[in-house]
């Protein structure tokens, strides 16, 4: 059994590491490793302990990098490993596997193990980068492999296991399988990983509380821990470079190790839980989502015409078709929205009309502009996801189609933001209206660029909620819609800068389509 699981997981892992995106994820791990050990004079930091950091020795570099990995791989890694089962469905491998004696729990265990291997390889790259960074920063060049690697094993790997299990669980639940799961994971991560940094958090999922206590004990001994000292993990900009202190290393208590082991066991159980409902790619049992081409006909097949009666008599005529292309794109978007979605949109429109004028920009507009995130995320990806690339690739004027798609995205954005705009106009909030316009242009541009570049909605589904959350929570530099106010005026970037960014993203999309246009199907060789 273990041999079967290992063999299946290894085959899956090999398939994944041979995809080009894997190299990109490893590169991202290197960048994260670089950011985790910044230059002594740097103002940006990942780890800040009351204005201090540890001296760059193996224990501190390993711990800081492992914490960064635990935090960021939990977010980004989810999107990296998501799709393991969907890939089997799309390629038809799932149906082949379903016809073998491989039991469902073993299949799920193999997928879980493969997810762990992919994320684990990123952790491995981070550990190697940490060693290089310690040597490069040259505060203590003596590399202690045990001190360096232990934090990766006890902090990062259990989080990797939890992420791998969550990705698998989400894939097997119909509601969380698609975009809702992608967007939802950001908020799960926000609650569990970021919320877990708080001293009041009930469970230390990340392992950060244990590290904070260890830092605090050492700093108290050295007399540098102040009553109001705080801890931050993420990526922040500080007014001045952090001071350093020598740190003894991560204490491995039984309680801490037991907690980490418990997390791994829980992850394994979560990964195996879908065995209760996973239907092994059987559509008759409401199985995994089928691609449009494989959807069984639910209505009777129409017979062919009894005889061929000749070609159409009407000759084709040509004209300006942008309006009809736009109508087509809008129809595609509108048909994807359910009645519940429209009800939600109507409620948000009512909220836009009902809230006090002071809450229109900070509350009503952000709420309206997060609701269509799943519709926006499909921009630039629909032809690919619906299997139409080979067909549409032979049609003229691809840029015109892209512009129609962008305009349809803009129309959805404008529609959802309409009542806040009307309220701003009624109250004479011209700066707010200008910021609204910048935001309305940026959102479809970002969605189309993300979709065209990656051919999947996943990047936008991961990126936009984070951006939106920052703006909604008052982070002015990232406020693209004018939600953060300084008095009566938006405190975020100038609307012209937002518009310029939107224009650049649209130009990038068109350039990408041009560069790629003639080689759409090379992978089908």
């Amino acid at each position: 059994m273990l041999q079967t699981i290992g063999g299946t997981a290894l085959g899956d892992f090999r398939d994944r590491v041979r995809r080009p995106v894997y190299a990109v994820t490893l590169l991202a791990a290197v960048v994260l490793g670089y950011l985790a050990v910044p230059d002594a004079q740097a103002r940006f930091v990942i780890l800040n302990i009351g204005g201090y950091r540890g001296v760059y020795d193996s224990a501190y570099v390993g711990t800081a990098t492992a914490l960064a990995a635990a935090l960021w791989l939990t977010l980004g890694g989810f999107y990296v490993v998501r799709g393991a089962i969907e890939h089997d469905e799309r390629t038809g491998v799932g149906r082949l596997v379903a016809a073998t004696p491989l039991r469902t729990p073993a299949y799920l265990a193999a997928k879980f193990l493969s997810n762990v291997m992919v994320l684990g390889s990123m952790v491995g790259v981070l550990a190697a980068t940490a060693a290089v960074m310690q040597f490069t920063r040259a505060e203590d060049r003596a590399i202690d492999p045990i001190a360096l690697l232990t934090p990766f094993v006890v902090i990062a790997l259990p989080m990797v296991a939890a992420t791998a299990a969550a990705a698998l669980l989400f894939e097997t639940l119909p509601l969380l399988r698609g975009g809702i799961g992608n967007v939802g994971w950001f908020f799960v991560w926000l609650t569990v990983a970021v919320g877990g940094l708080s001293a009041r958090a009930p469970v230390d999922v990340l392992g950060a509380q244990h590290v904070i206590r260890a830092f605090r004990a050492t700093m108290t001994e050295q007399g540098i821990w102040k009553r109001h000292s705080s801890f931050s993990l993420g990526l922040t900009q500080e007014p001045e470079p952090l001071k350093s202190f020598p740190w003894g290393g991560l204490p491995l208590t039984a309680e801490f190790l037991g907690g980490r082991a418990l997390l791994v066991v829980a992850a394994l159980l979560v990964a195996l839980l879908p065995a209760l409902w996973f239907t092994r790619f059987d559509p008759a049992r409401g199985g995994f989502r089928l691609t449009p081409r494989q959807t069984p006909a639910t209505e009777p097949e129409l017979p062919p015409a009894p005889a061929y009666r000749g070609l159409p008599a009407t000759p084709p005529a040509y004209g300006n078709t942008f309006g009809r292309l736009l109508a087509g794109e809008l129809t595609i978007i509108v048909r994807e929205a359910t009645a519940w979605w429209w009800l939600g949109a109507a409620i948000l429109a009512a909220v836009g009309l009902a809230v006090p004028s002071g809450s229109v920009a900070p509350v009503a507009l952000p709420l309206a502009w997060v609701w269509p995130v799943l519709l926006w995320s499909k921009l630039g990806t629909r032809h690919q996801s619906d299997g139409m690339e080979s067909l549409i690739g032979a049609y003229p004027a691809p840029h015109r189609r892209l512009l129609a798609e962008w305009t349809a995205g803009l129309a959805v954005t404008a529609l959802l933001g309409l009542t806040p705009l009307v309220r701003m106009a009624a109250s004479g909030d011209t700066p707010g209206m200008t910021a609204w316009l910048g935001g309305a242009l940026l959102i479809p541009s970002l969605a189309l660029a993300a979709g065209t570049l990656t051919r999947t909605p996943r990047l936008f589904q991961a990126l936009y909620p984070a951006l939106w959350y920052c703006a909604f929570n008052g982070l002015a530099p990232l406020d693209f819609m004018g939600a953060v106010r300084d008095g009566d005026t938006p405190a975020g970037p100038h609307p012209l800068a937002v518009t310029a960014l939107a224009g650049s993203l649209l130009a990038l999309t068109l350039l990408t389509a041009s560069a790629r246009g003639s080689a759409l199907l090379t992978r089908h060789a």
């Binding site: 081409r293 129409l302 062919p304 015409a305 000749g310 004209g319 078709t321 299997g387 189609r401 080689a519």
Partner: protein
């Protein structure tokens, strides 16, 4: 009208799918015949402006369509081997969207879509979302979209996959009709599809053009090289080891075999009239252990 000149396509990893092919196509139907992996689909995609060739030229009315693909795309009807459709659109909406993408005016596209839906017998299902279509019905939508703009060049890749026998016959008749004054390029590995409609056949394998000619010219290659014989089951294995066998049927009397060989494979072998399948096998699968039996 359409020219492919010394076209080569190399994919990542060094795989050469198309190796210096040159073809000139005028009105009429060119049947592209070859085994799976022969490079047919790559060549079709290059001709349809979807894939950029690594080297070589594709000219349409003298215009380089690698540099200016829209020159061909406006006059092209392309039916790929595999394709999907937006599942929430109806056939009429889908074709209307594609007609707009072609640049067709609203009035003419509306009339042509109605006529094309009638042609492929989907009028009754025109309001049904495509997600509820069967594979065969979706294929018919694909045929309709290929004919939307009354194309001068029609490229169809394995077009009869998923069609039932009656529909296959209808589609072949339609292609033959279209080929009267248009360039039609049809690829398949089903010999009977080509045999019944193509006046010009190109056999490709390993990315290379092995032979091109009329059915009569290709049949001449195999004349006097096709044999039929009846052997015991034990002898059948020996014959198979040494020759290209195009057909083999076990009967009560023994194993009836059809063999491609320069010389009679046995004293009892009798010459047979060749068909295109014999030619195809002789060209594509020359027996490695036998000096004769291949037409290359």
């Amino acid at each position: 009208m359409l020219e492919l000149i010394d076209v080569t396509k190399d994919y990542k990893g060094g795989k050469r799918a198309v190796d210096g092919m040159t073809m000139r196509l005028g009105p009429g139907m060119l049947g592209l015949l070859g085994p799976n992996g022969a490079g047919k689909s790559s060549l079709m995609r290059i001709a349809a402006t979807i894939t950029r060739p690594t080297s070589g030229k594709v000219l349409f009315d003298g215009v380089d369509v690698v540099a200016r693909p829209d020159a061909l795309r406006r006059h092209l009807g392309y039916l790929p081997q595999d394709f999907g459709a937006h599942p929430n659109l109806t056939a009429r909406e889908f074709l209307s969207y594609l007609a707009a993408a072609k640049g067709m005016s609203a009035r003419s596209s509306k009339a042509r879509i109605a006529e094309l839906l009638e042609t492929v017998n989907l009028t009754e299902a025109a309001r049904r979302p495509l997600g509820r279509y069967s594979g065969g019905m979706l294929r018919r939508v694909g045929i309709a979209q290929a004919l939307l703009a009354d194309p001068r060049v029609i490229i169809v890749d394995e077009p009869t996959a998923g069609l039932d026998p009656q529909e296959r016959v209808r589609f072949r008749t339609m292609l033959a009709d279209l080929a009267a004054d248009r360039v039609v390029m049809l690829s398949t590995h089903i010999v009977s599809d080509i045999e019944s409609v193509a006046s010009d056949i190109a056999v490709v394998a390993g990315g290379r053009l092995l032979r091109r000619g009329t059915p009569g010219e290709l049949l001449n290659l195999a004349r006097g090289r096709v044999w039929e014989l009846l052997v015991s089951p034990a002898e059948a294995d020996a014959v198979r080891m040494g020759h290209v066998v195009s057909r083999m049927v076990r009967t009560a009397e023994g194993v009836r075999m059809r063999v491609i060989s320069d010389a009679p494979p046995s004293r009892d072998a009798v010459p047979a009239a060749p068909d295109l399948e014999d030619v195809y096998l002789g060209l594509v699968h020359p027996h490695p252990s036998h000096a004769s039996g291949g037409f290359r």
